[in-house]
Each structure stands twice: as C-alpha cells, then as structure tokens.
Symmetry: C2
Subunit: 195 residues, 2 copies
DNA sequence: GTCTATAAGTCGATAGAC
DNA sequence: GTCTATCGACTTATAGAC
C-alpha cells in the first residue's frame, strides 16, 4: 500500500511522453517547444525537467522505446516455422504494428537528423537489428529454395520501405481495413520474392 | 549585350536556393535559420528578402520546382509503348532521378508538415499527378492482361514507396552502381505486378 | 542589392520559493 | 513536484543608409 503523495509522477511522466510524441509527429521536433508540451499536459515548462534532463533525451527515449518494443514483438510474432510462413507473419505483424502506432513510426524515421551523433548511432543499431530479422528470413527461404532473391540486403530494404509506406496514406476510416491492406501487401511481397 | 550591373541577382538567387536546399535536407526546415542560409552564401540575413518574400515561400518554391521537374521528365522518359515497357522506363527513371537529387526528394517528403495548408494542397496535387502516371501504367497492363494487380491504387503506392526507399540507403561509393540498383528494383517490381 | 540596426518575440534551461 | 521569474541567446522580418 504505497502512501499517497502530493505528486503524480507515475501518471505525469507518461502523459508528458504522450504529448511530446503527438506534437513531435504533428509538427516536428525542432518546431515544438517545451512550453507547448508542458501546456498540453497542463504544466509550466520548468516542471518538465523533473522528468527529462532535456528535450533531446525526451526524443531519444521515445525513439528507442518504440524500436525496442518493435523488436520484441516482431520476434514473438515471427515464430519458428518454414521461411514462407515466417515471412507472412513478419509482413502481417509489420503492417498491423505500424498502422497502430503511426506517431511512433513517423518520428523514429523523420527525426533521425535531430539526434546527436551518439544517439543517432544507438537508434540506427536498433533499426539495423530489425532489418536483420527480415534479411534472415529471406536468406533462409533462398536456402530452402522457395525464394528467388538475388540480393537479400536490397530485397530487405525494398520490402521494408514498401510495407512502411502504408503509414503515409492509410486512414482507419478509409475503404480498406487494416487486415485487408495487410492481405494485399502480403500478396505483393510473396510475388516479389517468389522462386 | 546586357549591361553589367552592380548586382549579381542572376547568380545569387540560385545560390540561395541551393544553400537552403542543402541545409533544409541536412537539418530540417524548422531547425535552419535565415541567418544560416545567408551565411552559407556570404550575405547578411536581410539580403535574402530581395529573393524571397519569406522563409516559407523559399521552401514551397524548392518543393514545387522539384515536383514539376519530376513530372515533366517522367513524361518524357515513359514514352508510349506497351505497359510493361512503360513500367520499366518508369522504374529506371524514378530511381535514376531520385538518386541524382537526394536533397530535393528528401525535403519534398519530410517537410510537408511545415507547409501552410494552401501550400500543402498545392504540393500534394503535384505528387498526386505523379502517382497517377504510374497508376495509369498499371491499369493499362492489367487491361492488356500482362499484369495481375488486384488494387491499382495500393500497388501504385507500394511500388513508389519501395522505389523511393533507395534514397535512404544508397551511397555513390557503395558496392552497387545506380544502374545495378535500378536493375534489381526492376526485377522486383516486374515480379510484384506479374500476371 | 547589400549593409547595419532594430523591433518584437520565442527558445531551452535554471534558480529558488513553496 | 510545480510554480514564477529570469538569463542569455536566438528567431523572422523590416527600415533606412549607402
């Protein structure tokens, strides 16, 4: 039974992260001020510094949090079957996850250039690990003889770019459901790598 | 024989645009100040306003200039043959053009959210016209019976996303030439839409 | 066409009261 | 933990001298 304190740090922290995420995605990291974030949460700007050492650390934390979650969940979704089954699971997972978290996906890609060099390297390493998961599937399928992929690295980047592109146009109220979209993309990916 | 004037407006204007393009692509529109652009060209900030009414107009002009050039050149590259030949021409043109102008491509996509609503609509209309060119090719191929494309709109967006993705990883000094990359992508696109 | 100077406001971050 | 107040630096854009 934790004693009720005058503070709300356990709820304020997440609310700050959520507000920052939304504003960064909408207007861009450089265009959003700490005062705007604070105002969104109902605080004064100075109070934010109880939760983050500075604005840059807030951005970094949003990006690494997203990519670590992406990695952990993709591993669970992928399973251990034959390459084609793992590829289908990867495609359907990737689309569902990305359509569910458009803001996270957006800043993890668009705000890379606002990261200081050390932080950029950290984020790039996580992204690279995700790409490597897909490349391993393509290489396995080629070895099994079910995929024809002349260059697994290029094919990996091409497939990820194609799939991630859904976030630029998909709207929940649009003519296709997320599942229908995933089905169409899986058809295209399957043909792209088919032997 | 135009009289030599004390001014250099015919050369200063393009140099300002070039500096702005490079800086916007590198650091983002919101993170770049007019002073930085001026300094890059060897001017004081105030002098920039002889060439653009404000910072926003400079960004808009860079984006529309790029997209209008893209549209005009793609029309010439595409030709009038059968659908598969036009698709191959489109793919090879798109990759060559994008690898040649990474900064223009980057800001035309990344800085959309820094456009005022009217300007955003203007840029989106140009982008849409480019997408429509590809969709027309896919629809023609389906009618000819050489392509199997269940949803031409989705296929259009998927192919463009896949192709444009090259700009995020391609480096001229890398292991593959631009032509080799275009060949690999053409193989993948061909399979993606194949009947 | 470019300069200097300036207006009028915003920025990130900190200090200290409560 | 949050507030108010503030520092010093920076911002876009304009005015007027040359």
């Amino acid at each position: 039974m934790a004693r009720t304190q005058g503070s709300h740090s356990h709820v304020t922290g997440p609310r700050i992260r959520q507000a920052a995420l939304r504003l960064f995605a909408r207007h861009g990291y450089a265009a959003v001020s700490m005062r705007q974030i604070a105002s969104e949460v109902g605080l004064q700007a100075g109070a934010l510094y109880n939760y983050t050492p500075d604005k840059q650390a807030l951005l970094l934390s949003l990006m690494t949090g997203h990519l670590e979650d992406l990695l952990a969940r993709s591993a669970r979704a992928e399973g251990t079957g034959p390459a084609e089954a793992r590829l289908e699971a990867f495609v359907r997972f990737h689309i569902a996850y990305h359509l569910d978290r458009p803001d996270e996906v957006f800043i993890a890609y668009m705000e890379l250039r606002n990261l200081e060099p050390d932080h950029f390297a950290q984020v790039e390493a996580l992204r690279r690990r995700y790409e490597d998961r897909l490349e391993a599937i393509l290489a396995a399928g080629r070895d099994e003889g079910v995929f024809d992929v002349p260059d697994t690295k290029i094919a990996t980047l091409a497939v990820i770019a194609m799939l991630t592109g859904v976030t630029t146009w998909y709207r929940p109220a649009g003519r296709l459901s997320a599942d229908a979209v995933a089905g169409l993309y899986w058809d295209m990916v399957r043909k792209t790598v088919a032997a």
